[in-house]
């Protein structure tokens, strides 16, 4: 790969200035290489960054690549920003879980599932860029539909929504119904 010095430097530069994760195809296009080459360059960069003397890390999200800092570096960044970044509150995590697994979903639906108003938690999540409006639901009032963002995937270290831990809601509900029927039969 010694002959690809310019391209690997270009790859680094692109990762630094890109706002959104860059896909293999996009990178191949800009660097005038084919996709396997890009993958090879990325793995070379990853190896370079794996040194403990390096603070960078490449994250993959939705088939795109993004440059960020290693989790071990977080305390330095928190000192820079004068605040330890707090984990999400219980309420926020509940709302986020509902959005992640049921998206697109409206605030009304979230409220109903939680049995409690979720305005503040939802506002926090939108503010943190973890969820966003992804449209309007047809019907009276055309309520806003919420979904998760790429920032959400990055925050939880997920490559894509498919990598969300599996929760078989349908199955759970089926089971609930069956057991209930059994109870009724007994009576």
């Amino acid at each position: 790969m010694l002959f690809r010095e310019t391209e690997i430097a270009g790859l680094e530069a692109l990762l630094l200035v890109a706002g959104e994760p860059l896909t293999i195809e996009h990178l191949a296009n800009i660097l005038d290489l084919n996709s396997p080459d890009i993958l090879e360059l990325l793995s070379e960069l990853r190896q370079r960054y794996s040194s403990p003397a390096c603070g960078f890390m490449i994250f993959e999200v939705n088939g795109g690549f993004k440059l960020g800092t290693k989790p071990e570096m977080s305390h330095y960044i928190e000192t820079l920003y004068h605040q330890p970044t707090q984990g999400l509150s219980g309420a926020a995590l509940e709302v986020l879980a509902i959005i992640a697994y049921k998206q697109p979903v409206t605030k009304g639906e979230i409220d109903f599932l939680r049995g409690v108003q979720s305005d503040r938690a939802l506002a926090t999540l939108v503010e943190k860029g973890l969820t966003k409006e992804i449209g309007r639901k047809e019907g009276p009032g055309r309520p806003i539909l919420y979904g998760t963002t790429e920032q959400f995937l990055l925050h939880f270290g997920l490559k894509s929504l498919k990598n969300l831990p599996e929760l078989d809601f349908e199955k759970m509900r089926e089971e609930a119904r069956e057991e209930l029927d059994e109870e009724l039969d007994k009576e």
């Binding site: 960020g68 800092t69 995590l93 879980a97 109870e183 009724l184």
Partner: protein, 258 residues
Amino acid sequence: MKKEVLAKPGPYIELPAFQGPLDLLLHLIQQEKIDIYDIPIAKIADQFIDAVRQMDDLDMEVTSEFLVLAAQLLYIKSRYLLPKLPKEEAEGEAEDPRQELVERLIAYRSFKEAALILGELEVSSGKKYFRTVDINEIRSQFKEEGDPLEGVAFTDLWEAFSHVIVRAEQGVETKTVEPDEISIDKMMDDVLRRVILHPHGTRFSQLIRGNSRMEVIMSFLALLELLKEGKIRCEQSAPQQDIHLLPTEKAWEFTEGE
């Protein structure tokens, strides 16, 4: 007062941790090790109401959602206490009054579980930070190349001008209000705009837009006013010919000082 509350027998519950009434109910069920599909409703309803009362005593915010669920529980409890109506008996497979509640609880439990998993994931995946990229700043470093008028032909310019004329002819400003609300100033603007847009003159008949009798009168008055102010002048090539209206040097004076 608080002593009394604390002295009250009953399950110890860590109140502030509840996300809402469903969370409290789920907690009570799990604490009593009750089968969620066969909730002893009378007992749980009483415990739920006790807990809500305690929250109230502790000056915690008891949102209306708690009261709604308490009422729902009491209602279900009452259904068990009342003898079944003959009609219901006849239907045989009457729906369990707890069914809807159980389904909501199960759904809530799944999402609560999902929230816990996400919480663990948040910690295990570690905190990472990214650069906030100012795309505009980066873009500004590169000169925009090429002709900003690329693909623009003369007809586009012509068309753009005719849009201006269409708007002026339509009298957008005067169209939006009731005719009797049109002020003479507005109408003078409307007339002047159309005269200025046509350097070769506008025929008198073209200026009067006959949407309504009132509008005709107003535009005629506006025209007289503009003539008096010297912003418009008349031309008539021959006695029987159309009168042409043209803008004068003074036509633009309205904008001075803007």
